[in-house]
């Protein structure tokens, strides 16, 4: 058994890191749970002042965790592939963004999702800022869209382009178009909203509750005296 684990470790340590580029065309991406808000956009090259876009790999379980605590852009066994900024270079709320992924531990074939934030820009993220409690975000992958996308011939690419999976390398195009985008698309408009919220972790809740209880008790004793 020890020899087996040793061999496994040797194999893992020599596996090469993954490099690839994703040219993303996605719209309409909107802010808030009902899509009532516009995302910050920056139409200059690289879009540093644009809303934060995150490319996520699902890991072995093929599911994306939408439970983010403050400070997180991915959680559970999801893998952060790369970040970019939002722009409107391709039409109404439609971004044309490049993700250059270097030395990723993601496995080719794992599902890929796009996540977008409206209260954080790419430059802020690169400077160290992270989502705070209450931040809304959206996540899209054709397989986990609602309703589940079953468009043939390729359910992993209902709007054309490459499949929404981690490629083996090179440069691939990922498309995500809602029906209300400038040139139309296959996805419901709500797929471009931000239904998820960054929430504090349970341990943080417990601390807050305890703090409130202590505070209430202290007030009660004070009034009693």
């Amino acid at each position: 058994m020890k020899k087996f684990f040793l061999l496994l470790t040797l194999f893992a340590s020599t596996a090469s890191a993954l490099n690839f580029t994703t040219n993303l065309d996605a719209g309409r991406l909107r802010g808030g749970p009902t899509g009532a808000n516009a995302l910050p956009f920056d139409n200059t090259n690289g879009s540093p002042a644009g809303g934060l876009l995150v490319l996520v790999a699902a890991g072995e379980d093929s599911t994306f965790s939408n439970s983010l605590a403050p400070g997180q852009v991915v959680s559970a066994n999801d893998i952060l592939l790369g970040v970019a900024g939002f722009n409107t270079n391709n039409g109404l709320d439609e971004t044309q963004s490049v993700f250059n992924i270097l030395n990723s531990s993601a496995v080719p074939g794992d599902l890929v999702a796009l996540r977008w934030f409206s209260t954080l820009t790419l430059s802020q993220y690169n400077a160290g800022s992270r989502p705070i409690a209450g931040s809304t975000f959206g996540t899209y992958n054709p397989r986990v869209s609602n309703p589940a996308n079953l468009t043939l011939p390729n359910p992993d690419a209902p709007d054309g382009g490459a499949s929404w999976v981690v490629p083996g390398g090179g440069t691939v195009a990922l498309n995500f178009f809602t029906t209300d985008s400038t040139e139309g698309g296959s996805q419901f408009p709500s797929e471009g909203f931000q239904p998820f919220v960054v929430v504090p972790e349970p341990s943080t809740y417990l601390t807050l509750c305890l703090g409130l209880l202590v505070g209430c008790f202290a007030l009660k004793r004070r009034f009693a005296f």
Binding site: S16, N87, N89, S97, V98, I101, V172
Partner: protein, 369 residues
Amino acid sequence: MRIPPSYKAFGFGVTLSAAIMADGVAQTAVTEPVGFTRVQTLGSSDTLVSTPLTRPAEYVGSIASVSGNVITLSGSPALTTNQFVYAAGTQPKRYYVITSATDTANAKEGRQFLITANTANTLTLNLNGDSLAGIPANAQARIIPYWTLGTVFPAGDAGVSFTPTTTTRTLKTQVLIPDYSNVGTNLSYPQTYYYINASSNVGWRLFGDATTNDHSDDILIPDGYFVVRHDNGAPNLALTNVGSVLTKKFTVPLTTTTTQYQDNAVSIPRPVDVALDSSGLGPVDGSFVATTSTRTILDQLFLFDNSQVTTNKSPVKTYYYFNSGWRLFGDATTVNHGADVIPAGAAIIIRKAPTTVAQTAFWVNSPTY
């Protein structure tokens, strides 16, 4: 497996030389050989190519001296201030200078440096970490404009060498640029260009930048390559390169690291096939480190097959140097592959093994014609 030559080079050499005495310093007016090459670029596929010809040199002269990042030219070239500096809308060219030896050895022979400013007789260069030390007086300087997207794929060649994009959701012909700056291997293509033709919006664009920003003047470096991707129904086309034949040495810098293998996406501007034994790559000058054990291949040279119809291609041939000769991975280690060729206009990846000191190796290629 033999890689079929997809280039046909038709060159007719016309070289006229005249020695012109000016202020007691000889300058040579030369008309260099010119010609053209043509390569088929396939639909639904990536064709990895380089430009085997250069744009015509716009100045050839003698060097008086070098200091820091400045070359002083001999005589009175009477250059116009900053005539070699790009100015959007008025001067669309960027230039590099390449030096060669005359009667004295030139340590920097064949290296190319971007010109950032010039006076009547000086050139200020971006050395990119290099130096001009070792360039002797009387070395020759040749100033050549870079190829650009707009010159390799001019608007008039729409439908001939590229298919314009009419809607940015469906890119037709794309030109992908390799990653020249990041550390590692199997690097991808961080830049994608496309030609838009949508109403009054016409020209080369960069994916991710505003769709109205013109990138027709973006350069294609002479020691690199690019990928022509015909996508979304764009058909097979042919890319023709018309230009000058470089008859001097050409030097390609190769990056190494101390911690891992490093890929270098490169090419050499030669309009003919070049045998590995004649390439100038080899262990003698450190440009290509020999492998001592086939269980640990050190430096490697990769070539691609453009007849494959696919995108994001992997190389089909891996060469390494072992036991005083070129070997092909997968073939017997006793078979000498030194006569195998780098096809004209080929895209090459040279993977450098880790070194004890992170340094740049230099591949000096001499013309075989």
